[in-house]
Symmetry: C2
Subunit: 251 residues, 2 copies
DNA sequence: AAGTCAGATAGATATGATAATTGCGTAAAC
DNA sequence: GTTTACGCAATTATCATATCTATCTGACTT
């Protein structure tokens, strides 16, 4: 075995390997196995043993074990001697892990998942905006304004719409000065990236800038309740669209 | 090395080893290293190499690597050749991982952390109650009622107050029928366990039962807004207490 | 029927060797 | 003097193998 590891890695895990993960065999295995679990490949079949996994992917058992341990840490697997490695029920997966989130989103586009996303956002972001109105530093308020400015620029084609939208919402989360709210950064980014195609198809986003500006103005004015309501309206609108889509799809 | 592993494990990680983690050396290492990181033991010193960690704790490098990989999966560490293993900034820790959460809480009782906890709860739980009012199944409504009944029983000394409180709030989260909300189960349990000593010290919880009943009644009546408001009042009260405690502590 | 023990299975651990990566210092080149 | 090239060394990454430990199964015993 005198070939370069990177060559082997790219051979085993060709293109779909996420760049946010490392380039090691271990991370490659993590990605491959994690995605397979999320897809449901092992839903009705027994999960292979470590030895089988290692052999199937042509890597050592040490690498396999490290990948399995990482998936255990993320709540997807559990391992016991003699019983083997088993896939945990989805309720114990750590859905706020960005890897798990990515695997879930790559699996399939599901309006239901999008609704669950935005049902969470409608709880988190208005409250984050309310906190930001009270507690954000000047720098953080500036960042929120910069996000809004990017959205305006994107409207004129001078910036990326999605990136600008994400920047705004992330800035609000940062402004909450609460580490738990900041954790939702990846989640919101994923939700926006997923929903932008969806919402754009249904309804023009022209009104969106004004809605975002209302949030910004309230935060600047240190109007906590105003910020909460404005943000709630913003996300509530998306939620209504999703609800309508689900209703028409089921009839 | 012909001694039993369990003996070595209990020797290295005597009593403080959490039972939710496995009894293996790997999980013991995970717990010990994770706690040390959260405590801040490596804040201003270089993180040891794998070989040093293994030697210091008297385990093999394989075990050490698996523990490090799990901590990497939880966002606490990152490892690169030549650079070594380094502790990630707290912003990239996965705070919704129950291990990380436990380590954080064991570190020190911090009113600030408690406030951050409840600032999140005041976003999540009212919305969960609102969703539950609309979407919960009969069985889930029954579970919420059972939680309330346990609280009443606890009032009379026939049940554990904390366990009953947790059961009620978890039942509401389950009733939301949204997997993301269900993820907050551990978080809410930890928050309640941490805050019960705090709030009990300040103010009797006699009014609490009525507040909880208001939530339950609104959910039963399928009154979404009523459930949201009732739950918001419940947690908002705690938040006010925490704010007062912080204010008096700083003066 | 209940308890006990042997075998089999699969993860857990240890160990030693080798490969890959990359920060850093030094020398060469411009 | 500055930049580039190159090689050393440190550290993680990987592999291979052997042994240990936990636990299920089933046969055997009482």
């Amino acid at each position: 075995m005198n070939r370069k590891v990177s060559a082997i890695t790219t051979e085993i895990f060709p293109s779909e390997m996420r760049t946010s993960l490392g380039r090691n065999l271990t991370y490659g295995m993590l990605d491959v196995i994690g995605r397979a679990i999320v897809i449901g490949e092992y839903d009705n079949v027994a999960f292979p043993t470590e030895a089988e996994l290692a052999r199937k992917h042509g890597v050592s058992r040490a690498v396999t074990r490290e990948a399995v341990k990482m998936l255990t840490a993320k709540g997807l697997l559990s391992a016991r001697p003699r019983q083997g490695t088993i896939v945990q029920p989805q309720s114990s997966w750590n859905l706020f892990d960005s890897d798990v989130l990515h695997w879930l989103l790559e699996r399939k586009f599901s309006v239901e998942l999008l609704r669950h996303f935005n049902q969470l956002r409608v709880a988190i972001e208005p409250e984050a905006a309310a906190l930001a109105a009270i507690q954000a530093t000047d720098a953080e308020r500036t960042a929120i304004g910069a996000g809004l400015a990017r959205m305006v620029a994107a409207e004129a084609g001078a910036d990326n719409t999605l990136a600008a939208d994400i920047a705004f919402h992330v800035a609000v989360l940062e402004g909450s000065r609460n580490p738990f709210y900041k954790q939702f950064r990846d989640m919101v980014a994923s939700a926006l990236a997923t929903s932008i195609h969806f919402t754009n198809r249904i309804k023009g986003r022209t009104a969106s800038i004004e809605d975002h500006r209302a949030v910004y103005d309230a935060i600047l004015a240190r109007d906590s309740d105003g910020a909460r309501c404005a943000m709630r309206r913003l996300i509530g609108d998306v939620l209504v669209l999703i609800g309508e889509a689900e209703a028409t799809a089921s009839t």
